[in-house]
């Protein structure tokens, strides 16, 4: 076994952003998670991110609309320039609506496949639209890790931030399975989250965190509030415990353990300084 210790520095979270039809925005979500507000009724319609040109906004796949909305919220709340920030986009399944279209069309008449749907079917379509819309030429990534996709995205983001000493944008999003895919893929509803991880404290810092990998059986991190539990069927639901903790900074220090795999977790210790 290696004796090399973790060299993971304390990092800082800015600009938590959140979007679900019942919790369309971080202020609403934070209030609902802490019992100081209620989910909106009727639920909000699909977001319409301003990063895209008006014509693109209407045509954008659900995953692109969702992810760009929270990405822009996080950037605005962090007070940073989107073009400067490397970005990590995380989605367990990518655009399930386009996957259903692709597989259905291929099964019927493959020669009818739409070229636009095809280029929107790549997992990195959302981060591609983000970098194009914001003029961001920094490193951009797109990853998946099944039920641990948010945790894997946060690990990738924190690692990149710590290794290169620069702030990194993390965006997590998933959509409902549609069509025949819904008989195997369990994701339901729309859910997107985002935040910026910074190597140093700023006036926009919401939380500091120490982080480590913990081997062994992973404890299942479950959402506590009814508002968060109602979103637990989405494939990005592993993000909910962290956002609940970020909603309640009065309760810091707090520990959030996110499963990364069957026998590995990402442990975060959130604090004020």
């Amino acid at each position: 076994m290696s004796a090399i210790p973790n060299r993971t520095p304390t990092l800082y979270i800015e600009g938590p952003a959140f979007w679900a039809p019942t919790l369309p925005g971080w202020d609403i979500a934070r209030a609902a998670f802490t019992g100081q507000g209620a989910p909106v009724d009727p639920p909000a319609k699909r977001p319409s991110p301003q990063v895209l040109a008006p014509a693109e906004r209407r045509r954008a796949p659900d995953t692109v609309a969702l992810s760009l909305e929270v990405a822009a919220q996080a950037i605005a709340a962090s007070g940073r320039e989107a073009r400067d920030l490397p970005c990590v986009f995380a989605s367990a399944h990518g655009d399930l609506g386009i996957n259903d279209y692709m597989c259905g069309t291929l099964a019927n008449d493959p020669t009818l496949l739409s070229p636009i749907k095809f280029h929107n079917s790549v997992h990195n379509a959302a981060v591609g639209y983000w970098t194009i819309g914001t003029g961001c030429m920094a490193a951009s990534n797109s990853l998946a890790a099944y039920e641990s996709t948010f945790a894997a995205g946060l690990l990738e983001t924190a690692t990149q931030c710590a290794a290169d000493g620069q702030a990194v944008l993390l965006v997590g999003y998933d959509m409902p399975a549609v069509g025949a895919l819904a008989s195997v893929t369990t994701s339901r509803g729309l859910l997107a989250v985002a935040l910026v991880v910074s190597p140093e404290r700023t006036e926009r810092t919401v939380a500091a965190f120490d982080w480590s990998l913990e081997p062994g059986e992973a404890a299942i991190a479950a959402p506590r509030s009814a508002a968060a539990q109602a979103l637990a069927a989405n494939a990005m639901a592993d993000a909910l415990p962290l956002f609940e903790a970020l909603a309640d900074t009065d309760a810091f220090p707090a520990t959030v353990t996110l499963p990364l795999a069957a026998r590995l977790s990402l442990r975060l210790r959130l604090h004020r300084n």
């Binding site: 090399i4 493959p110 997992h123 379509a125 710590a162 290794a163 590995l264």
Partner: protein, 419 residues
């Protein structure tokens, strides 16, 4: 500019593609300029009851996947992509090298970071041709962990008995190149002691008909950098590398194969975005150049230090125009550059690892591949691009991978003769 990084040792590596299983097949094809492409004979599981005529194109298909069976304990992962992953893992003693690393460090201290563009979507396509009366997947296809992008990395982690961080990168054609970057960061921070990187992509209806719909597929074997090039040839491949700290005692034994006993190293990487267009590259190649500059800075080397460049060179009109101009303006005329897409086809998310393996073989054996199928180089290309293979002792190699969405990654490998 990023800071210089401490090199990582590549203690084992392998690739399986249309030219064959493992490094020896690949090297033999590169030495003899033998292409693995064939007229499209891909059995399209998605074609339904009345299959249309196969698309008139050439493909880099891996022989025997149709009949390959996974071991019983892994059988629930069965799909073409995971079969190819298994075939690739079994080559060149790679599984044994990983088992040794697992023993040295413990299973939780070895990451699995793999790239793929389509993972097992071919299996999902097949399920859609056999839906039941309710429009649901048939019982044998209700395998949620197969019909998802992370299928590949979950399967490989289980096959290797590892318990460390496990992620699937999916940035189209740069996916498996970027796995090296993510792994380097994790090792540098001490989160893990070693990482299995690489990627797997397989032929499927989505990519064949998808690239065809974009009019990017050639009706003949692809001709990278040819004046008359007319599109890509799609291929499939699996490739893996094991990364460890260079200073680790007793790490791996792959280095014994190295030329003059030299250790093979990951020296640098660069990742950048075009911020231009979803499916065409930046006209001046600014994202590609930024990836190149970052890779040079992390490696602490200059363009004239690079002995071999494995170009992305897809044979699409635009990629080759932009990348050819970049190499022409940044490298000396003496640099040997080539695209190996004519050997393997464009293996999409696996292209980064396959071409990393080709670059490592160039360092190890001195074989600098040519660019096959191409007969007349585009006049806009520089003198760096070579059609014929050559032999030279090179110390540093660069591999470029550029993907849809304007996602660029450059890798720099080297060998350390002092070891």
């Amino acid at each position: 500019m990023p800071q210089r990084i401490t090199p990582l040792r590549i203690s084992a590596f392998t690739a399986t593609s249309a030219v064959g299983v493992g490094k020896a097949s690949l090297l033999a094809a590169l030495e003899s300029s033998r292409s693995g492409l064939r007229a499209n004979d891909f059995v399209d599981e998605t074609a339904g009851r009345t299959p249309p005529a196969p698309l008139p194109t050439w493909i880099g298909r891996v022989e025997g996947l149709e009949d390959l069976r996974l071991p019983e304990a892994l059988a629930s992962w069965d799909c073409r992509n995971n079969r190819l992953a298994w075939l690739g893992l079994e080559a060149d003693g790679f599984m044994e090298a990983v088992a040794a690393a697992r023993g040295r460090y413990g299973p939780a201290r070895v990451a699995v970071i793999l790239g793929t563009s389509t993972s097992s979507i071919g299996e999902t396509e097949a399920a859609y041709t056999r839906l039941d009366a309710d429009g649901a997947f048939p019982a044998d296809q209700r395998r949620a962990r197969v019909h998802t992008p992370h299928s590949l990395s979950m399967f490989v982690q289980e096959a290797l008995g590892l318990e460390g961080p496990n992620e699937t990168l999916s940035t189209a054609c740069s996916s498996s190149a970027k796995a090296f970057a993510s792994a380097e960061r994790m090792i540098r921070l001490g989160l893990v002691d070693a990482a299995v990187v690489g990627g797997v992509d397989t032929l499927c209806g989505s990519v064949l008909y998808g690239f065809n719909s974009l009019e990017l597929v050639s009706p003949q074997p692809c001709r990278p950098f040819d004046a008359a090039r007319d599109g890509i040839s799609l291929g499939e491949a699996a490739g893996f590398a094991l990364l460890e700290r260079a200073e680790e005692d007793g790490a791996g034994d792959g280095a014994r194969d190295g030329a003059a006993g030299g250790r093979l190293l990951l020296l640098g990487y660069g990742e950048a975005s075009d911020a231009h267009h979803m499916s065409t590259p930046h006209p001046q190649g600014l994202g590609a150049e930024r990836a190149l500059d970052d890779a040079l800075a992390r490696a602490g080397v200059a363009p004239e230090d690079i002995g071999y460049i494995n170009m992305h060179g897809t044979a699409s009109t635009k990629n080759d125009e932009v990348e050819g101009a970049l190499v022409k303006r940044r490298f000396p005329a003496t640099t040997h550059a080539s695209s190996t897409k004519g050997f393997t086809g464009h293996t999409l998310g696996a292209a980064g690892i396959v071409e990393a393996v080709i670059s490592l073989l160039a360092l190890e054996t001195g074989l600098l591949p040519g660019t096959i199928n191409t007969t007349m180089l585009d006049a806009d290309c520089g003198p760096q691009i070579r059609l014929e293979p050559a032999r030279a002792d090179v110390r540093l190699a660069l591999s470029n991978s550029f993907g849809f969405g304007g996602n660029n990654c450059s890798l720099i490998f080297g060998k350390d003769l002092q070891a």
